[in-house]
């Protein structure tokens, strides 16, 4: 094979050194021989590709992909709204970036021994479950035997959550531990329990297996970021410098079905920037937990069963905005507004929603290194706003200043 054909093949396979690649691309501009060699190499490689064992994609993948064709929602009116203008005018990034894990407690210091045991069991069950729904599992290939067997042997996650939440976890008794327990039970866990219950039944799809995998992965990281002694070795890895891109969030939220206890909703995305959001897994876990809190607050109040999750950068300089938006009735919005402003009403059944908002508030205090909530609220670093017939919930996170050269997750 002459040098040109070899170069074309290496270029096609992505193994030509960068400098030589640039030279080869320059040749393509005015050399028919180079172009012919490239076309031939591509066709050779494409033929090899077709020899791969044929596999079938599920219909839910097609639905997700075709969502690309739907027009993006226009967020300009929201970005021009008063709270975001205020945020734009007042936002300053802290000098020392928050690395995540600031809300962590030691599980063995939780006073309630039953809580300790339940949290440990939950973590162990999820460690067992995760590989059974991973992309190389039998379940991912359509054989549910092992997954069903394990799920039937485990206690139901839904029942565990209900049982643990039956009695309020006292802040006076548990201090920050209460927050860690609630973060572990109320952020990704309700959706996780919904999908594990569904997979334990008869009516499910391959998309449910995939969704459960992402939820298990997130839940494990959220629990490690909440309890520093639950899995110290993996936590050490989570704390290493490793950039986490917005694409990771987009992948799991795009076209997903979301559940918060009995409420279900369909997620739509559109505006996800291309770049890193957090520097470490442990920070990403906290970010993730906040995103789930937004979704859990909004999805049960959507008028049409849909809600948007979006990640917008540079609308506010040095800041990444996570925005959840859904069409809501005025009553539904008023309820959200009360929750966001901590106004306790006589409506029962909203205790967990107040806790979800408090989890975001506490995380904002840590991320922006403020000492009082009023400072955060004055700066509109998070909030609830109504425009036309939609409710918007958001939180701001400091953008990464410079790429510190860490590995990419």
């Amino acid at each position: 094979m002459d040098s040109l054909k070899q170069k074309a093949l290496d270029y096609t396979l992505g193994v030509l050194p960068k400098e030589e690649s640039l030279l080869f691309e320059a040749m393509l501009e005015d050399s028919d021989d180079a172009m012919h060699s490239l076309t031939e190499a591509q066709e050779d490689c494409a033929r090899i590709a077709l020899s791969a064992q044929p596999k079938t994609l599920g219909n839910e993948v097609k639905q997700r992909i075709l969502e690309n064709c739907q027009p993006n929602l226009n967020f300009d009116p929201f970005l021009a709204a008063k709270p975001i203008q205020n945020l734009r005018n007042t936002f300053t990034r802290t000098t020392d970036r928050y690395n995540g894990g600031g809300g962590s407690v030691t599980l063995r210091n939780i006073n309630d021994a039953r809580l300790q045991d339940e949290i440990n069991c939950l973590y162990d069950d999820l460690i067992t479950l995760t590989p059974l729904v991973a992309g190389d599992s039998d379940a991912a290939a359509g054989d549910m035997t092992s997954l069903h067997s394990v799920l039937k042997g485990m206690s139901s996650f839904s029942q565990s959550i209900d049982s643990l939440l039956a009695n309020p976890i006292s802040k006076d008794k548990e201090g920050n531990g209460a927050q860690s327990v609630y973060r572990s039970l109320l952020s990704s866990m309700p959706s996780l329990s919904f999908f594990s219950d569904r997979l334990n039944g008869k009516s499910f799809s391959m998309g449910d297996v995939r969704r459960l995998f992402y939820l298990c992965r997130d839940q494990l990281k959220i629990m490690r970021a909440s309890f520093d002694d639950i899995d110290p070795n993996r936590l050490l890895e989570d704390e290493k410098l490793r950039l986490h891109s917005a694409g990771l969030l987009q992948t799991k939220w795009w076209g997903a079905e979301h559940a918060y206890f009995s409420a279900q909703g369909k997620v739509r995305c559109g505006h996800f920037f291309d770049g890193p959001v957090t520097e470490r897994c442990v920070e990403f876990a906290e970010y993730d937990a906040n995103m789930y809190c937004l979704a859990n607050l909004l999805s049960p109040r959507s008028s049409n069963g849909e809600f948007h999750m979006e990640l917008i950068k540079d609308a506010v300089p040095n800041c990444i905005l996570a925005i959840a938006r859904a069409e809501t009735t005025k009553d539904q919005h008023d309820e959200l507004d009360q929750i966001a402003n901590g106004i306790r009403s006589h409506t029962t059944g909203l205790q967990n929603d107040y806790i979800l908002w408090e989890l975001i508030e506490e995380s904002m205090l840590r991320a922006h290194q403020h000492t009082t909530l009023s400072e955060l609220k004055d700066a509109s670093l998070f909030g609830c706003h109504r425009l036309e017939n939609s409710s918007y919930l958001w939180f701001a996170w400091p953008a990464i200043e410079n790429n510190q050269g860490g590995a990419v997750a």
Partner: protein
């Protein structure tokens, strides 16, 4: 096997969602099969396909007819993106970073493409396509195509001279071109 209209890219570039759907129906399966072959992970392979289709819709000019045949370009892009992910995963393991998923399947890190291909019945179709190749040529093409190794890396791994790797690649590619030429693109 794979049928897409010659002008499908132009239609997608013009915002024709029906053409986008036709491309998916005609081609996503082949792209997914290739990605899954390389990555061995269904969810990761789905992500690769999802990303490529998103790019195609939002930035259709990522392709231009100057880059060769659209169908070939798509498969090469799928292969290269899958290889990038495979390398990224391998780097994490090489650094000794834990991963609850990868740790639960310890054979993942050490199996190379050839071992996996010969070990699994699922690779029957692939093996048949390569059956006419001498093993030494097949090994080199698999390492290059499905594992993204360059010729120097292959030479070091197999303890061969660079010249031998190059000549075996050339002979293997030429034989494959003949034996796989019936596959329509």
């Amino acid at each position: 096997m794979l049928k897409i209209e010659n002008n499908i890219w132009e239609k997608i570039r013009d915002g024709d969602s029906l053409a986008f759907e036709q491309l998916y129906d005609g081609f996503a399966g082949a792209m997914f099969s290739l990605s899954l072959e390389i990555l061995g992970d269904r969810w990761e392979a789905e992500e690769v396909i999802q990303d490529i289709f998103a790019v195609l819709w939002r930035k259709p000019d990522a392709y231009s007819p100057k880059k060769g045949k659209f169908s070939s370009w798509l498969l090469v892009l799928t292969r290269n993106r899958s290889i990038d992910r495979y390398r990224s995963r391998k780097r994490r393991l090489d650094r000794g970073e834990s991963d609850e998923i990868l740790q639960s399947r310890p054979d993942q890190a050490n199996k190379d493409g050839a071992e996996k291909a010969t070990a699994s019945d699922e690779k029957e179709h692939l093996n048949r396509a390569f059956s006419n190749l001498p093993p030494e040529q097949r090994k080199i093409i698999e390492l290059s195509y499905f594992k993204g190794m360059n010729q120097q890396e292959i030479a070091e791994k197999l303890d061969l001279s660079l010249g031998t790797v190059k000549s075996r690649t050339r002979l293997g590619i030429e034989k494959l071109r003949n034996s796989l030429s019936t596959l329509r693109l």
